[in-house]
Symmetry: C2
Subunit: 694 residues, 2 copies
């Protein structure tokens, strides 16, 4: 089989996925947008989101242009012709693709929220249908632009290093969108809760709260644009890492050319599995929406495994035993092993964050004895939850390595495929992720526009389902990101070996490597702290503003005067953007400083250190945050005293702490280590030549 066909398949199915996203978008728009009042509220949210997005994208365009010029200049010194311009173009293209997919996801989310609320008047299945369709726009768009973009670039330049630059552009944009969105959403959420619920005692999503629109905008910019990108950057990076490894082993004659493109083709199979799987996601009259979402994950997973196996069988049958055309079975085992272990890790995460199991209940129970114990216990379970996920990551890595090696493929290439396998579900996972904030918004709009209790309750059922699905996909994304950066770590070493023309080792007993690891360990901690301090600082400002409005105009609390929503929206927007400088520096400039000063060994160690603590903190923060959130909800469901009890007050504090843990710092850490790995691999040829020590 000519592997060019694989590239064309990538172009075609990538384009189809984008078209499917656009068609679904148009379909969503045809649902009833509801009463004038509902539309007015949705309009405020839409306007707030647009304002922020415009500001964000202006900033990002500026950053992209500057970085693009730097890339063009720096890489023009390489032997390859026009390498600088090509690198810059691919970077800009990657950033553009990532931005487009995020923008489309947001665009549909702010239209779908009100339509979901209206559809809930008919019933839960109808509401679910609108929200899930809207979510899948983002899922389809993201995998579409990724696969189309990568195929196109490879078809033109036949150089994986150019795709690396594409991946860097996409990931950097995802990082900034996610970090900014994460800060925005939690600033608004915490401020709205602390003054609204705790100080003046009005319910959530009450239109009298001046921060209520900012809070709902936050769900969109943080959870749709931000969280959708959570897994997108890993997706592209996993493919690039595997392609880099494949290209390097092809160059040294260890594997055939087909292994360079296999990762891309596995994505095509993933798109096909998603196409087949999506229409099956439906909620029957008495079904639970949560089950439908999980079914979507598991079903797509099985489809992918079956389709991949068929593909391997067909290719090998057609190859007639020619090793340059056939595919190694070790590659199939590695891919499927990664996929299966990814799903298992996702479900173990559920154990720590689902209120049907002991951790959440323990935290809820101990909340009655004091807020301090709520925090300590939740934090401790968060620490424990690191263990099963890391054991899973190790199991996936070792299985993939050994099974590939057993069949004569380089083991580390198998690890890359395991990451690609785990991420083949990206379309489905992003759809589930984007569903969450849409139903959350729908609930808010239903309440604010005075729809009936029944409608609000239905929207609430859809919302809880989103939370459970989110916990599972989150454990999944972190593991996938970890496996991806491990593959990228190996790819970095291969690039260094190639360009320095000697075997590259990362010996922990070498003091420069060890120094690199220790410095790398610091980055995720610093990064998380910067994001969370921005949240508390901005929330503090917003709290002052809300208190000021209540004081200046007593009519607001009486419900006779509308609060000034734009002030809170402005505070959240400008605060989030200002906060991006430090994190961007840590992700991009710090690795380069380490590399050019302390040398490639130290940079390798640095990446390792960042991966180690990055994964640990990401798991800790995401799971502890989810656990506190559900502990609070478990009490609100009437356990241990219910709403208003001392236990509930303690649990609310736990939830507030968990908010920036799980929605700001935790998910951004995945992207942080991805961006760090990508920038290191991209600059590896330069660092291999020029560095001060090492």
């Amino acid at each position: 089989m000519n592997t060019n066909i694989w590239l064309y398949a990538g172009l075609v199915f990538g384009a189809l996925s984008i078209l499917a996203a656009l068609a679904t978008y148009r379909n969503v728009l045809q649902y009833d947008p509801g009463s004038a009042r509902a539309q007015e509220i949705a309009g405020w949210i839409r306007a707030g989101a647009s304002t922020y997005l415009k500001l964000l994208y202006n900033t990002l365009i500026a950053i992209s242009i500057i970085l693009g010029i730097i890339l063009a200049v720096v890489f023009s010194g390489m032997e390859k012709q026009n390498h600088g311009l090509m690198t810059a173009a691919a970077f800009a293209f990657g950033a553009l693709c990532s931005a487009l997919a995020g923008w489309l996801g947001m665009k549909v989310a702010v239209e779908a929220n009100v339509r979901t609320a209206v559809a809930c008047k008919e019933g839960i299945p109808q509401g679910f249908n609108v929200a899930f369709k809207a979510g899948s726009v983002m899922g389809l768009a993201m995998v579409g632009v990724a696969v189309f973009g990568m195929s196109l670039l490879y078809l033109i330049w036949r150089d994986v290093e150019i795709i690396l630059s594409f991946s860097f552009g996409a990931s950097l944009l995802a990082l900034l969108a996610k970090a900014g969105g994460g800060i925005y959403t939690k600033t608004a959420d915490i401020a709205a809760d602390l003054v609204g619920k705790v100080e003046v005692g009005i319910p959530e999503d009450d239109p009298r709260n001046p921060a209520v629109i900012a809070d709902n905008v936050g769900d969109n910019v943080g959870d749709v644009a931000g969280m959708g990108a959570d897994i997108f950057d890993s997706y592209v990076a996993a493919v690039v890492a595997s392609m880099l490894l494949g290209a390097s082993f092809f160059a040294s004659g260890k594997v055939g050319i087909q292994y360079v493109l296999l990762p891309l083709l596995l994505c095509v199979i993933g798109i096909i599995a998603t196409f087949i799987g999506l229409p099956f996601v439906r909620v029957g009259k008495d079904d639970k929406p949560g089950r439908a979402l999980n079914f979507s994950t598991v079903f797509t997973c099985i489809l992918f495994a079956v389709l991949s196996t068929i593909f391997f069988v067909v290719v090998n049958a057609l190859s007639g035993g020619d090793p340059s055309k056939s595919l190694n079975w070790g590659a199939l085992i590695s891919t499927v092993a990664g996929l299966l272990i990814g799903v298992i890790i996702g479900f173990t995460t559920d154990y720590f964050t689902n209120d049907e199991h002991s951790p959440v209940r323990q935290v809820a129970k101990i909340s009655g004895s004091g807020t301090g114990l709520t925090i300590i216990t939740g934090f401790s379970y968060g620490l424990i939850s690191i263990a099963p996920a890391i054991v899973g990551i190790v199991a996936a890595m070792i299985t993939a390595y050994l099974s590939s090696q057993a069949f004569g493929l380089p083991g580390i290439y198998g690890v890359g495929l395991a990451a690609v396998g785990m991420l083949s579900l990206t379309g489905s996972v992003v759809s589930n992720d984007a569903y969450g904030p849409i139903v959350d918004n729908a609930k808010g709009i239903a309440e604010m526009s005075g729809m009936s209790h029944e409608v609000v309750d239905r929207a609430d059922v859809l919302d809880s389902a989103g939370n459970t699905a989110k916990a599972i996909t989150k454990g999944f994304s972190i593991s996938a990101a970890a496996l991806t950066v491990l593959a990228m770590f190996a790819a970095y070493s291969e690039v260094i070996s190639t360009y320095s023309q000697k075997d590259f080792m990362l010996d922990l007993l070498d003091p420069l490597v060890l120094a690199g690891v220790l410095l790398g360990c610091v980055v995720p901690a610093l990064f998380s702290a910067l994001l969370m301090l921005s949240v508390t600082k901005n929330a503090f400002t917003m709290i002052e503003e809300i208190r000021r409005q209540f004081k200046a105009e007593p009519g607001i609390l009486k419900g006779t005067v509308l609060p000034d929503y734009t002030q809170c929206v402005a505070i959240a927007s400008s605060g989030a953007l200002k906060a991006l400088i430090g994190p961007a520096f840590l992700a991009v400039v710090f690795p380069l400083l380490v590399g050019f000063i302390l040398g490639p060994g130290a940079l390798g160690g640095f990446l390792g250190g960042a991966i180690f603590t990055g994964v640990v903190f990401a798991l800790l923060m995401s799971n502890a945050g989810g656990l506190w959130d559900n502990g609070k909800k478990y009490i609100e469901a009437g356990n241990f005293g219910g709403s208003g009890s001392e236990a509930h007050k303690a649990a609310v504090v736990g939830d507030t702490v968990g908010d920036p843990f799980k929605d700001t710092a935790g998910p951004s850490l995945n992207t942080l280590i991805t961006v760090m790995s990508l920038v290191s691999s991209l600059f590896a040829p330069l660092i291999a030549k020029w560095h001060i020590f090492g």
Copy 2:
């Protein structure tokens, strides 16, 4: 100079240090123990502490016997004659020395507390004098038994591997004493505060609180026996690691025999510096006690640097240029660099935990806007505080490595010496550490026995000074432990190289090494979680018991009936002991499983991973805990609304969360990684021969 003289110097100065401790102990006993009422209260605390210590030591003797037998059997298979018995004997001796020093420290603390309170009637300098003397008993005893024990063992067997077993015994005991004590003290502290202060509104140290005696016992078993051991195990391990490296490089002809014993002799110089420094620690009439404690640290540090330099000059003058007798200047630079950077790190820790700087004030300020923000902000500053300490550790490591290498010594040996240099202050640091709980207890006794306000206030001044000194010594201990385990990490590799007779590498690109690192990263997280969950679980039980007593006997709160103190003491004791099984397994059995199953490379990676996240979590937890504690105190001093305000309530929750962070999990992590490194190095000869993979 004959290096035998160095060993005799070790014996003599070790013995002198022990004698000085005993003499000081007798001297403390001669102070006035106060009124019958004060003595009665002190008697309860003494009895509670004895009960717990008896239980603890019974458990520890049982564990030591079992482990001793295992060691005797396992190591009898080695080529060396009687190696099994010698290993077991050294292990038991190490455990005994560690237990003795801890026991003596406790013994004097429970006598000194009441005497300090009584001395405060005369004035702050008098109270300081008693407490600091009592603290120095522990400091002198610990360095004494360590240096005496190591010198004696080497004099008899001339084999550093036997001293390694001594170090393992000492560290394992320190770990269990510290973890158990840490759980005990925070169980009682949290339970006493949550019911006493928060629920029924009686002040701290009120005799009506059934947990008040358990709380004061906790200060002794947790902070004296536990915290004193915080640095002791690093002290022994740093010497052993350097001796192991020296012996290995001597065997390969890279260094002379004098470098095997140099680390021990540096300890002798440290003892001499402490002897000279201690009498200078005095508080004048208008001096601050905190300044006196810091002066002690800095003065001893300068003395040590001067004495070491003189020693090097004298040895080199006497050697007549004979390289087998002279000392390399690189060794001196490494030692002093370690010492200086240690002190610098200690003072940067102060920045994050002292209320004169921005972090504590920011947390205090934001507390007015909600408890959640207090936790997030404090946690974030804790995350940031990791950075300067790790940069310091890296700087110390690189400086020592390069300066030793520049003078022709193996660089990694220099890293070992830097750790020894940093820890040469151990006598002085442990004295400062033990001072804290003594004055804390003194304050409690003064309040409970109804001494005048003036006396209580003076005791309070002494107490705050203890807190500030503690923050500095804590940053210092973590860095010293980190540098120690890095040296031990290298020592482990040397042992593996020697016994497997090939060059040993820890290549991060080897999947087994990487798997080891990832698994190692999990251990500190799991370990911390187990300790903290034990605290919350036991505190929950104790809270129920306190509530039960208040309900069953209303006379308790009226002050007419004494509560049953023994119940709370029993809950704290048995709870703490039961909680030690999991952590002991993690520290001892888990590394061996990794080593014998996944091989020496994986175990090396495992140690690395545990060191990386261990240091990160230790710094995070200790500093965030200290910061919350002082944030609360800053508000209590009348800022941002003062005691009773909303800000204060939030800060109290922060303090409760910080308690197990800084006094249970954080400080135990140092010892955890020390024990893991020691057990791995000890079993390295066996693991090099027998393992399944790798």
